[in-house]
């Protein structure tokens, strides 16, 4: 725990020591606002809820989280600081978890800053706050899944741009897995359970299930499993490829 915490602390401070944090936060807030209130035509919907706000989150994360996660390990490897880090008495798992938790906390901060939307709908109407809370929980879990994918993929390369592009592509597949365009393209010879399994991998399905107002165990476990799987991959890659 101690190792995780020192890494977590350094990383989180690191976000605010550079303009990265502020750029990310401002862009996230602007985009989530524009999508919800302008593109989503919130006022015309005449609904006192944040469904329109949350429905954009997978796409916001798709664009912004790879930008946040790309440097996590690629930068350590490029600059050689990974050698400094991994020769201190901490394990790769501690470093991986510490970095991930810092990034996740940071997106949590970004998400928390959108609470003005929550306040607005309460001012304008009488929303079901339980549903909104569930939406926030779901969005936070999904952000963690995007981040874990990005952190793992960032550890494969020294190049941040490669990390960004690869993470973007893989994340897109995770979103699109539930779309008919993807599931229909799977050849018929494959069994239906396989198609169903692919569809079950979709971030979108699990996220929209949560935003309907119920944080079901299976959806939460889904996102937590994705996080665990990718952090495991991340740890393995750091252990094996750190010196390459």
């Amino acid at each position: 725990m101690h190792g995780i915490f020192t890494i977590f602390r350094r990383e989180l401070r690191g976000y605010f020591a550079t303009p990265v944090a502020y750029v990310f936060l401002i862009i996230f807030l602007i985009l989530s606002g524009v999508f919800t209130w302008q593109v989503g035509e919130f006022y015309d919907s005449n609904q006192a809820d944040l469904r329109l706000f949350f429905q954009w989150h997978p796409w916001l994360y798709l664009a912004l989280i790879p930008a946040l996660s790309m440097r996590l390990w690629a930068e350590e490897r490029r600059s050689g600081t990974i050698e400094f880090l991994m020769t201190m008495p901490i394990t790769a798992l501690q470093a991986v978890i510490g970095k991930f938790l810092a990034a996740w906390t940071f997106t949590g901060v970004a998400l928390a800053l959108t609470a003005t939307n929550w306040w607005t709908v309460n001012y304008l109407g009488d929303p079901d706050n339980g549903v909104i809370l569930a939406g926030y929980v779901g969005s936070f879990l999904m952000a963690g899944a995007f981040l874990a994918v990005g952190a793992a993929l960032s550890s494969f390369t020294k190049n941040q741009v490669s990390a960004f592009v690869i993470t973007f592509t893989v994340s897109l597949l995770f979103i699109l897995a539930g779309f008919p365009a993807v599931t229909d393209s799977i050849p018929d010879v494959l069994p239906t359970w396989f198609v169903a399994a692919i569809r079950d991998l979709s971030f979108l399905d699990h996220f929209s299930a949560i935003t309907r107002g119920v944080v079901e165990a299976r959806d939460a476990i889904y996102f937590l499993s994705v996080i665990a799987l990718f952090l495991f991959i991340n740890t393995t890659v750091v252990d094996l490829k750190k010196a390459d």
Partner: protein
Amino acid sequence: MIEISHLTKRFGRFTAVKDLSFEVKPGEVLGFLGPNGAGKSTTMKMVTGFLSPTEGTVRVAGHDIVTAAQAAKARIGYLPEGAPLYPDMTPRTMMKFVGRTRRMGGAKLRERMDVVTGLVDLGAVLDQPIETLSKGFKRRVGLGLAILHDPDVLILDEPTDGLDPNQKQQVRDLIRSMAEGKVIILSTHILEEVEAVCTRAMIVSEGQIRFDGTPAELRAKSRYAGAIEVEVDPGELASARESLGSLAGVASIESVETGIQSARFILIPSGEGAPLLDAVQDKAQASPWTLKSISVDRGRMDDVFRAVTTGPADSTERNGNLTTNTTTGGAA
């Protein structure tokens, strides 16, 4: 304190370190020499637990670096090649980070930070982002981080590389002052540095130990060790060469430069019998030509280094090819 046995590292088909075995005891400062790509950095990376060995073991203070990595790493201070640091942090925040990671408590950490700041002279830049610091300061920050927890074992990969002569001297003084009771291994290209700070010199080439002894023994291996440089009048050069060349202890004569004012040549000793100096002086007294000056060569490190690292067989022929021969491996 450090026991390395049968250490081997292969990258694909390339063997960077081949069956290396040696021990380093407390109080020893081991200078690790070798051409680029000789396996110095690879060995250090394995000793510090950054790379895992293909074969063999490393034990640091009794802890195996693979099976008891955390305990072993806790005893080591390491300055990696090029002193990588987080550019957005300051020397102060970086020291705090390292101290906390190494489980140093508040008061102890503050005290060590003060000591280390003084030792590597960082007071003026303590709160400046590392990315704005000069190369010399960065190297000193890296060194400060390596010694922050007062480790028993210090591994320094080219600690003076890129420093100016004053800074080099500072770092060497610092290493010397810390040596007591510690194990220090440092790698370097600079042979004088080995003489200045090390109690033991080791030359590795192509992943194997080619020499292991004191810096003085290393110097003595030079064919110039005990050689005599003689200066005479250019007009008397031929007769001087002839009469001194006939001395029993002289193996060969090497020409140096012949100017208008003076001519010089070097008498290479055969290594048998008494030192040459007396014989040369006696001969000069008895001869008609005049000896203008005379000096004894202590041996040349560069010369030994080349001879040792390019193999015993055809050392002189391959001297010019040293770099091309040894950098093809490409190991860090």
